[in-house]
């Protein structure tokens, strides 16, 4: 997916564990884990707002767009 979730980077910067973040944001540990691993299909604005408030950051610090289409042909060429 072209959207990268940098939650682990922000957590490391704020020296916050997943358990602590889960308690403060009010999201289950399993859901935060899904988000951290980039397995989530979508994120609610309310969740993003809570994460930004607790981690004291901007949405752009948590989410990042990385163009993966440019990488694909090269990858295919290497595989062939």
């Amino acid at each position: 997916m072209a959207i990268i979730v940098n939650l682990d980077v922000m957590m490391a910067k704020r020296k916050m564990s997943l358990n602590k973040l889960s308690e403060e944001v009010g999201i289950t540990l399993s859901n935060l884990s899904i988000l951290k691993q980039g397995k989530a299909k979508a994120i609610r604005f309310s969740t993003l707002e809570l994460l930004c408030r607790v981690l004291d950051c901007q949405p752009g610090d948590i989410l990042e767009y990385r163009d993966t289409t440019a990488e694909t042909p090269e990858l295919l060429y290497t595989e062939i």
Partner: protein, 205 residues
């Protein structure tokens, strides 16, 4: 009363279907054994074939007052009872037909039991349910088509071997089974959509 979950309508239906499933197995075992014993003991057995035919007037119905005119009681279907000898070919045919009918009934009941059990566990959009509904649909559609083909063959055999005089054998197509099968295919697709939406909802944090 709740429709899904524990102590719900689905839970009751799941239990009823479980009982029905076991009853079907017991009935199948009993009928199969009974048919084999009868075929072994008796020299012949009666085969009841359902047939459709052009309307036959059974009797005239007389009204008891002047409000109605006399009616006619017609019949367009019935059972042709034939006495067949207990040769191994006839017995094998009878047992094959019995096994096929019971297998289909047991299979459909099992799928329904599994579907309602998943409703009881609050998992209506389980991937297996889509497959189960489609299985039932294909069985019903196949059943209606095979039944129709069987009627064509049986009618040909009966027309060639019996003198029917003014009665003409007709064909009937099991439209209700076909329609139910087609509706179930659509329902299976709705369940697939439901499963996708549920999965998306689960992965929306």
């Amino acid at each position: 009363m709740k429709a899904l979950g524990n102590k719900s309508l689905s839970a009751i239906l799941a239990r009823v279907l479980t009982v029905l499933w076991w009853l079907e197995w017991v009935t199948f075992a009993f009928v199969f054994t009974f048919a084999m014993v009868v075929a072994g003991v008796k020299k012949s057995f009666t085969l009841s074939i359902p047939v459709n035919y052009s309307a036959i007037t059974l009797r005239k119905i007389i009204p008891v007052n002047n409000e109605f005119s006399a009616g006619v009681l017609n019949s367009t279907s019935g059972n042709l009872n034939l006495t067949l000898d207990s040769s191994w070919q006839h017995v094998a045919l009878l047992l094959t037909a019995l096994t096929t009918v019971f297998t289909l009934a047991i299979m459909i009941t099992f799928q329904l039991k599994a579907i309602f059990s998943s409703f009881t566990r609050n998992l209506p959009f389980h991937d297996a349910n889509i497959r189960r509904i489609r299985n039932i649909a294909f069985v019903l559609i196949g059943y209606s088509v095979i039944q129709w083909l069987l009627i064509l063959v049986v009618n040909r055999v009966l027309a060639a071997n019996f003198r029917w005089e003014q009665v003409q054998l007709t064909y009937s197509f099991n439209l209700s089974a076909l329609a139910t099968g087609l509706v179930l295919i659509v329902i299976a697709e709705i369940f697939r959509l439901g499963a996708t939406l549920e999965n998306e909802n689960k992965l929306t944090i």
